[in-house]
């Protein structure tokens, strides 16, 4: 429902910026819109407008807005804020969210800030920071509501009513042991509300849900939440002591980033890429990716270079050769995408990889034969030469098989070696299909025409 509202909102803001109606903008940003909507507006504003808008946001709202921005934009804004202002953000944010923001700062700045924080806050932030950002420990928050197993439902209800409020996203209370605060089980609020007041927590608590170790990767946490439809889950240390909890709102961000990761990496982009990054920043990043891909292109050219003599004799080869390379590349990248998605969902493992490779081999052969016939037909009709039809047919079959098989095998090898298949897979695959495509087509031609 806010979609349409904020769409015209950007247009209205732009107009107000043009006419210099800053008072009006200030009011909209601080009084009319929710902080998440302000963040959305900032994300879809070009750099100059974004800076002006940020300055018009009231100090008290800065934390709330910042927390909804992507890492890259956070880092950019923080780099222009002075330390006292960054510290003030802690007041309005959850510990885990404030820790996330701190991590966008250079290490030296972060440690300076931690030094001047009051002790209680510092300890809580440091606990979250002691785990890498992409683990359960880095995702968790420490705002758990805990109870003991031997009290009755009535006592629990009385205990809760003493609170002014309980944290958002609290769908269950965590049951911990009296002595060492070890995690024992959870008591869902829905169960608490329907149970007879005399029953004890121990009798109704749920113990099937295994707590999440703080070292689990955020990717695994996300799959767990997805599979078990969790709203919140307890996080424990190696000894089973309750450290905090992870809530679905943070997991949803991980799921979105996880899913975006493959898409963005395959195009050599950051998961978190700022759509409206300035020209210079964008150009630098893209230049690197173009450079890497240029190496692939030069390798392909070098292969063609070997066969200059043959092309000189039969110029039709130059006309048809991109078809062979392109068909192999398309077939390969389809398979590559499928396997990368399957890897992201943890569907591929040793036990089924062999079947996948065999299937892709069969698909490569079938589609190779089909399109070899079509392309050969067109080539013969175009150049009136049966030999060129035969050559291109053989080359296409070879390259489609190579494409589908390496589309499967490459990501498996890369992942086993700890290289991100989404980032490196596409470049390597194109190198293979280009080289094999040109080599097969021009090599066969040299044999037949030589």
């Amino acid at each position: 429902m806010n979609q349409l509202a904020s769409e015209s909102e950007l247009h209205k803001l732009n107009q107000a910026l043009d006419t210099g109606a800053f008072q009006q903008i200030r009011f909209t940003l601080n009084n009319t819109l929710q902080s998440v909507e302000v963040a959305q507006l900032l994300e879809k504003s070009p750099p100059k407008e974004r800076k002006v808008l940020w300055k018009l946001i009231h100090r008290d709202n800065e934390g709330a807005v910042l927390q909804h921005l992507s890492d890259e934009i956070q880092a950019d804004i923080l780099s222009r804020m002075d330390n006292s202002r960054v510290l003030a953000l802690a007041d309005s944010l959850d510990t885990d969210d404030f820790a996330d923001i701190l991590q966008q700062l250079p290490d030296t700045v972060m440690h300076e800030l931690l030094k001047v924080m009051d002790q209680q806050n510092r300890e809580r932030v440091e606990q979250v920071l002691s785990f890498p950002e992409d683990t359960a420990g880095g995702l968790m928050n420490t705002d758990t509501v805990t109870i003991r197993p031997d009290i009755t439902v009535e006592t629990v209800l009385r205990y809760i009513r003493r609170h002014d409020e309980i944290p958002e996203m609290t769908d269950s209370l965590f049951v911990i042991s009296r002595r060492k605060e070890l995690y024992i089980g959870i008591l869902p609020l829905t169960k608490l509300l329907v149970t007879d007041p005399d029953i004890t927590v121990r009798e109704i608590m749920v113990t099937e849900i295994e707590p999440i170790p703080a070292t689990m990767t955020d990717h695994e946490v996300a799959l767990l939440f997805e599979q078990h439809d969790l709203v919140s889950a307890p996080v424990v240390d190696d000894d089973g002591k309750l450290l905090g909890r992870i809530t679905i709102d943070d997991v949803v961000d991980v799921i979105r980033e996880d899913a975006d990761h493959s898409l963005m990496s395959m195009a050599g982009l950051d998961d978190d890429e700022d759509t409206f990054a300035p020209v210079w920043k964008t150009s630098k990043r893209r230049a690197i990716w173009l450079g890497i891909n240029l190496i692939t292109a030069f390798i392909a050219s070098a292969v063609i270079g070997i066969f200059q003599g043959t092309i000189d004799k039969v110029v039709a080869l130059a006309v048809l050769m991109p078809i062979v390379a392109s068909m192999g590349g398309i077939a390969g990248s389809q398979t590559l995408t499928l396997v990368i998605r399957a890897q992201a969902l943890d569907q591929v493992e040793k036990a089924n990889a062999a079947w996948l490779i065999r299937r892709e081999l069969a698909v490569g052969i079938l589609n190779g034969i089909l399109w070899a016939i079509v392309v050969a037909g067109v080539a013969v009709a175009w150049f009136g030469d049966y030999t060129i039809g035969l050559i291109i047919a053989m080359a296409i079959i070879i390259n489609l098989i190579v494409g589908t098989c390496s589309g499967t095998i490459l990501p498996l090898i890369l992942k086993a070696r700890g290289v991100d298949p989404a980032l490196a897979g596409g470049v390597l695959l194109t190198t293979v299909t280009d080289v094999v495509g040109f080599l097969a087509f021009l090599g066969l031609a040299t044999y037949f025409y030589g």
Copy 2:
């Protein structure tokens, strides 16, 4: 924590299948594993094993497992089940989940099944089915717990305690008007638990959350849940009458599908593609995508064909021409991916599109100049010909500008015309960068050498 467990689980199951230890498998599937884990195992099994495993699942567990499978696999399994068995699934599933499964059946079969259902069930399923699957109405469930505004917290607590259980994912009760059941507000359980028993619902209910209209798209629903960190939200009809609620577990699936959609469509794959689909099915689908891309390849060849005479004179052109086309394609597809992701997040609109296009123009010029110099240097060194360096430099600048600009403009045009940019964008972009690349390079060469 189940990740590692189920990884070896697949291996163990495969071994058991090989040795024919069906009793053991049956026990594992029905007694050891949770239904979501069984679904995961089915998803990562090749077709033959999948069929055998499915037969070993107990009737009572079929619904629970089916509900966790992707649409394509659901449809495949349902097509081999008889009607009475499909009907039996209704007993173990939520209305919305059962309706989702019914939608995988051919329309005629679905209507036959609805006819023989008992009236109450039929009406509930038909209500969900009356909304398209990809709208709030299609996502919602009807298991709301509703209360009136003028009762006290104590009465609410007593009313709830009369239930044996309240539905999972119930984080708030919905407040509706006494007469027409119009939606008024929500009462979060966390608030209910900390409020003085004498206070009335009206005094503490939250009214800021606007209810979701049943016709809102699931994509918008997902953005709303993400932005506002919701666990559940009320769904209303045009008159404001409460129809049901949407819960975060169903939204998480939409977010995952939404994010996967761009990745999969850009490779011509279904969002929901079965990784382990059989050879024949896979080959047919891939053939179509290869055919579409072949048209692009032939168009590029036709362009090269125009310049056969020039290539015949200077064979080095054939060696270098793929570089020009490839650099334009890479630059273009980076931009295309960025814009498609931004569109999926609703970040691009009229008010900022012009800025994006100008930025990409600038990036194209800057990177064009950089890489033109590099490639020209290599070309001159390789072929000892300054003219070819000049030609390729100019062609690369032209093609990089065309690539980045059409990478931005194409998805904007496609979306405005109601065509999915993720599906059609890549093919069109490659056609543009291939044609422009070859045309610019070989055209300039014809001018300089002609």
